[in-house]
Every structure is written in structure tokens, then in C-alpha cells.
């Protein structure tokens, strides 16, 4: 009952793979977006803010559908990707990572923006009087000081990506070994007669992975806070 089958192991591995990629690719974009939202004001500011937060309030299936319309072979963006770069996203693990990344993006940006707004701008001014140009100030002062928020954003996004279901199944479908991540595998097992055992094991694995990620993040956050204590 408690021995994990190769099929289940594959779902776990794929889930972690997809989640790590989705977080890794959206991380720099998330920092940039958080910076734009926190530090700049321009006419389209509210619109950008709304757009970033849209996946948080939309049904995930709608997000998956929009991705499919935009990035499908016949979609306006999908055609360019395929014709110019030979890249296909729907029904691939990269597509699953994209869907997970889009769904997790607002959580990541929110955490980072919050910590960026907490960074003392007077410290940045001090850095500039010491001869540092704005990019250097960002790398040596702003970024280290917002590290706790970046970590929180990563963890939240990672957890969200691991659990992503609706957008993934709509955009990338449920293909074993390619896009059948842990939640999708669990869903399939529940649909299959006699799948109660595998479903139970997958649920336990899901709990263990999430718990592990939480514990690691708490420990990291604790160390970061101690480092930054002024």
C-alpha cells in the first residue's frame, strides 16, 4: 500500500521539474514587475497592476483557455513562436510550466512588492552619496534588503505551481510523462476504478512535499531576518 509505483514517482518528479522551471523563469520577471509597480508611476500603472493580479481572481480554466487561444499553433503569439523559433507550448511540459508560472505570478509579485516598499529609501540615497550608480545601488542595497520578500515570493509561487490544476489541464492537457503533474495524476487515479490506493499515496506525497518546502522556507527566512536585524 505504501510502496510508490514508478508511475507515481514520475508524476512527482515532473511536478517538481515543472514547478522549479516555472519559478526560475518568472523570478527575474517578478522582481522587475514588483519594482515597476512599487517605484514607478505612469498612465498604464493601474492596468498593469490589474493584469498581473488577474490570474488570482479568474477561474484557472479561463486562464488556461486564454493561453490556448494566444499560444496555440493558430494563435497570434503561438504562430510566431512556431514559425520563427519552432517552439510549441500547448501539450508540452514547457506549456505546463508556463501555465503554472502565470497562475503563481501574482502571489510572487505581491510578496516582492510588499518587501520592496519596506526597503528604506534613505539607505539607497546614502549608497548614492558613496558613489554607487542606481544599478549598483539596486544590486548591493535594494535587492539584499528585499531578500526576505523574494524568498517568500519564491515559496508561495512554488507551492502554487505544484498545486496548479485548472490552467494546466486546459492548456497542456493530461499527458503521462509530459504534463501529468501530481494533481493531474491524482485526479486521473480518482477517475480510474481501483485507483484509491495510488490516489491516497499521491495525496500523502503532496502533503510531504509542501510541508518540506514550508519548513525549509521558514528556516531560511529566520536566518535572513537575523542577518537584516538593524
Amino acid at each position: 500500500m505504501l510502496s510508490v509505483s514508478p508511475l507515481e514517482m514520475e508524476a512527482v518528479r515532473l511536478s517538481l521539474w515543472v514547478a522549479v522551471w516555472s519559478v526560475a523563469v518568472s523570478l527575474p520577471l517578478g522582481v522587475l514587475t514588483a519594482w515597476i509597480l512599487a517605484r514607478t508611476r505612469f498612465p498604464g500603472h493601474g492596468l498593469l497592476n490589474g493584469l498581473v493580479h488577474l490570474p488570482l481572481v479568474l477561474p484557472p480554466v479561463v486562464v488556461g483557455y486564454v493561453l490556448l487561444v494566444l499560444l496555440g499553433r493558430q494563435g497570434p503569439l503561438g504562430r510566431i513562436l512556431f514559425d520563427w523559433f519552432g517552439v510549441t507550448l500547448p501539450f508540452t511540459w514547457q506549456g505546463a510550466a508556463l501555465a503554472a508560472g502565470v497562475m503563481a505570478f501574482p502571489l510572487m509579485v505581491r510578496a516582492m512588492r510588499l518587501s520592496l516598499e519596506g526597503v528604506d529609501r534613505r539607505l539607497e540615497a546614502a549608497a548614492r552619496t558613496l558613489g554607487a550608480r542606481p544599478p549598483a545601488v539596486f544590486m548591493t542595497v535594494t535587492l539584499p534588503l528585499m531578500a526576505p520578500g523574494i524568498l517568500a515570493g519564491i515559496i508561495l509561487a512554488f507551492a502554487r505551481a505544484l498545486g496548479e490544476f485548472g490552467a494546466t489541464i486546459t492548456f497542456a492537457a493530461n499527458i503521462p510523462g509530459e504534463t501529468r503533474t501530481l494533481p493531474l495524476a491524482l485526479y486521473s487515479m480518482i477517475q480510474t476504478p481501483g485507483g484509491e490506493g495510488p490516489a491516497f499515496r499521491l495525496a500523502i506525497l503532496s502533503v510531504l512535499i509542501s510541508l518540506g518546502a514550508l519548513i525549509v522556507s521558514e528556516a531560511l527566512a529566520h536566518r535572513l531576518r537575523a542577518r537584516l536585524a538593524a
Binding site: 546614502a126 552619496t129 558613496l130 537584516l228 536585524a229 538593524a230
Partner: protein
């Protein structure tokens, strides 16, 4: 030369400041809170942009609205010591100190890392983080960090204001050492006349966003028309004096100034050393005739020059002691009883102990260094 002619408006508050002074020693920017001192120094540093005007330091134009010049703070090479220190909390003291040092553009920095660490007594703090330092230690690190950026001018915005008196006393000698050993001019913002008299050579008086006067510390503090700005409680004369004699049997030092000789508790300075000292108006009493049988050591013949017109029971009188200006604060009743009027000859009585030793300041120029302890003469 430091030249500023700037105008800016922040909501209800307008700044329209014009000043020009030599960049030697410490230039103090003095005024009540809200006078615009910090705004002015921030414009100098490039942290606030004036609406129009021109700023130059030793011929280098930092800002000129007419020519569209506005150097960013990182290109101005002005060190800035903030009131709250602003140390980087995620770096240890060593990395805080070297932050600007590493970015010094010149191949040959004017001050070296080890020199600053020694000057400010920071060697034991290098591995620590700002979070674990006391207020005084933080300001010393902030001082060192600004110095190590090799600035052509060091700006200090009330660096002692956030500290209690013992911490102030801990940091002040370090600022004096900086002034006396490094050839970096300092612009020092303060609302404490005691600090200014102790540290500064040049005084810039500010009020309501305007520069009211620029001049030597002695000159401005003895002007009656500036009295509302220089403050009443701390009011007094600042005089230059030379160490003439040490009287070891009584532990006294005789200081000669234009108005005569002053006996003060022993000062650790070489014979001939130029000192600056402050004689507060409230420590000077007056007599019409030379008093006899008095414990007061310092009795100086003077002439009443002007009598203040302030309302209240006390009045400030400006005295002329053979060319040196002194101030006395006595009751209005005594003015009437002694029939004091401009031109009247009087004797100023100054208690030896009343001369504020902490307000002893050193002079600018060649004579400003106190002799080291080993070569002290007795």
C-alpha cells in the same frame, strides 16, 4: 570656495538661499529646526533638486539650472554623514566602510582604509553588524564610511542630534581629530551653538529658508542684530586667545586676548597656542568700580557699547574690552541702579570656572593643532 544660489519650493516651505564661503575647516550651518538647513545640504549633495540656481564647489559646477547641469549624487564626490547614520544593516562594519572606498574613482585615494580605522578607533568593530552597535559607534562608522569615499567636501547633518550627552562627548573628539588631521573641509549642520563654537570656523546662519549671514564664528555670535537667530540662552562672546602661562601651583592657565588676561582652569595646550573660547553672557557680571576682596579672578576694564532692548527682567549688554567684544547679561534693575548707558566705563567680572572648557575650540590654520601630550610645556 563653496558657492550656492538656489531656490526651491516644497509645499508651503520656500527656500531661497545664497551663500559663498571659503572651504576650509568646518563650515557650520546653524538655524532653528525648519530653517531649511537639511534641505540646503540635500541640494548640495544632489538628493534634492532645486527649482533653479547654481551650486559649485572649488570651481566644479554641481548644479546649474541655466546650463542644464545636474550631477547625480554619485558623481558629486561629497561625503554625507546622516543624522540617523544610515548604515547598511546587511553588511558588517568592514563592508560598510569599504562601500564608498571601493568605488573611489581616483587611482590614489587621499585617505587610506587603515588610517580611517585608526583615526576613528574602529578596529574592534570591523566584524560586527550595525544592529549590535551603540549610537555613538554607529556614527563613528558612518563618519568613516563617508570619509573613505574620498570626498572633496564632507557633509554632516546633525550627526550628534540623535545621541544623548555622554554619546555626544564620545563622538565629538573624533570629529575634532578629523578636522585637525585631514585636509577635508566639512559642512556641519547643527542647531547646537555649543557644538558649533567648539568645532566650526565659519558660521552660516539660516532662518525661514534664507541665509541671513555668513562669517566667522566670533564675528556673528557677537552681533546684536543677529541675536534672535544665534539664540539667547547660549548667547555669549567667542574670543581668540593665546596661551601665555601655565600656573602649576594653582592649576590655572593664563590666556591673553585683546581685552587682557583671562585665568582659566588648566588647559592642556602648548605655550603660544591659539585657542578660541566662549564666554557666556550669563557668566559675566558688571561693576562700576574695581571691586576689592572678591574671589573672582577675572576683572576686565570695559566700556558699555550697546544695551539690548529685549523685554523681560534681563538685558544683554555688549561690552568693548579694549577691542574685544564681550557680553554681559544682568537684570534691567541693575542697568538702572548702576546708571549704565552706552559709553559708560565698567568692570566685567568673569568667574574663572565659568569659562566653559568644553567650548574651547582650536583655530583654523597653522596654529590649530594642540600640542601632543608628550611635548606639553609646563
Amino acid at each position: 570656495m563653496l558657492k550656492m544660489d538656489v531656490a526651491a519650493r516644497f509645499g508651503d516651505f520656500a527656500i531661497e538661499a545664497k551663500l559663498s564661503c571659503e572651504t576650509t575647516g568646518i563650515i557650520a550651518l546653524f538655524g532653528r529646526s525648519g530653517a531649511g538647513k537639511t534641505s540646503l545640504i540635500n541640494m548640495l549633495a544632489g538628493l534634492t533638486r532645486p527649482q533653479r540656481g547654481r551650486i559649485s564647489v572649488n570651481g566644479n559646477v554641481l548644479f546649474d539650472s541655466a546650463r542644464g547641469i545636474d550631477l547625480p549624487p554619485e558623481s558629486r564626490r561629497l561625503g554625507y554623514v546622516f543624522q540617523e547614520g544610515r548604515l547598511f544593516p546587511h553588511m558588517n562594519v568592514r563592508n560598510n566602510l569599504s562601500y564608498g572606498y571601493r568605488r573611489t574613482p581616483t587611482a590614489k585615494p587621499r585617505v587610506e582604509f587603515d588610517q580611517v580605522v585608526e583615526l576613528l578607533g574602529l578596529d574592534r568593530l570591523l566584524a560586527r553588524r550595525p544592529g549590535g552597535l551603540s549610537g555613538g559607534e554607529k556614527q563613528r562608522v558612518a563618519l568613516g564610511r563617508a570619509l573613505l569615499a574620498n570626498p572633496r567636501l564632507l557633509l554632516m547633518d546633525e550627526p550628534l542630534a540623535a545621541l544623548d550627552q555622554p554619546r555626544k562627548e564620545e563622538v565629538l573628539p573624533f570629529i575634532e581629530r578629523l578636522r585637525d588631521t585631514l585636509d577635508i573641509p566639512i559642512v556641519y549642520v547643527s542647531h547646537s551653538m555649543a557644538e558649533i563654537v567648539r568645532l566650526a570656523d565659519t558660521l552660516v546662519l539660516m532662518s525661514d529658508g534664507r541665509v541671513e549671514a555668513v562669517g566667522g564664528v566670533e564675528d556673528l555670535t557677537s552681533r546684536l542684530d543677529l541675536r534672535p537667530l544665534t539664540g539667547r540662552y547660549e548667547a555669549g562672546a567667542v574670543v581668540r586667545a593665546q596661551v601665555e602661562r601655565h600656573d602649576d601651583s594653582f592649576g590655572l592657565t593664563e590666556l591673553r586676548f585683546a581685552g587682557g588676561v583671562l585665568r582659566v582652569p588648566r588647559v592642556e595646550a602648548a605655550l603660544g597656542a591659539e585657542l578660541r573660547l566662549r564666554i557666556r553672557a550669563r557668566d559675566v557680571s558688571l561693576a562700576r568700580e574695581r571691586p576689592q576682596g572678591l574671589s573672582i579672578l577675572n576683572i576686565l576694564p570695559c566700556r558699555v557699547e550697546a544695551i539690548g532692548t529685549e523685554a523681560g527682567p534681563q538685558v544683554d549688554l555688549r561690552l568693548d574690552a579694549s577691542g574685544a567684544a564681550l557680553w554681559a547679561r544682568i537684570t534691567r534693575r541693575s542697568v538702572v541702579d548702576l546708571a549704565l548707558a552706552p559709553g559708560a566705563p565698567v568692570f566685567a567680572l568673569i568667574k574663572a570656572v565659568a569659562i566653559d572648557r568644553t567650548s574651547l575650540g582650536r583655530d583654523a590654520g597653522a596654529n590649530r593643532f594642540l600640542a601632543p601630550a608628550s611635548s606639553r610645556e609646563s
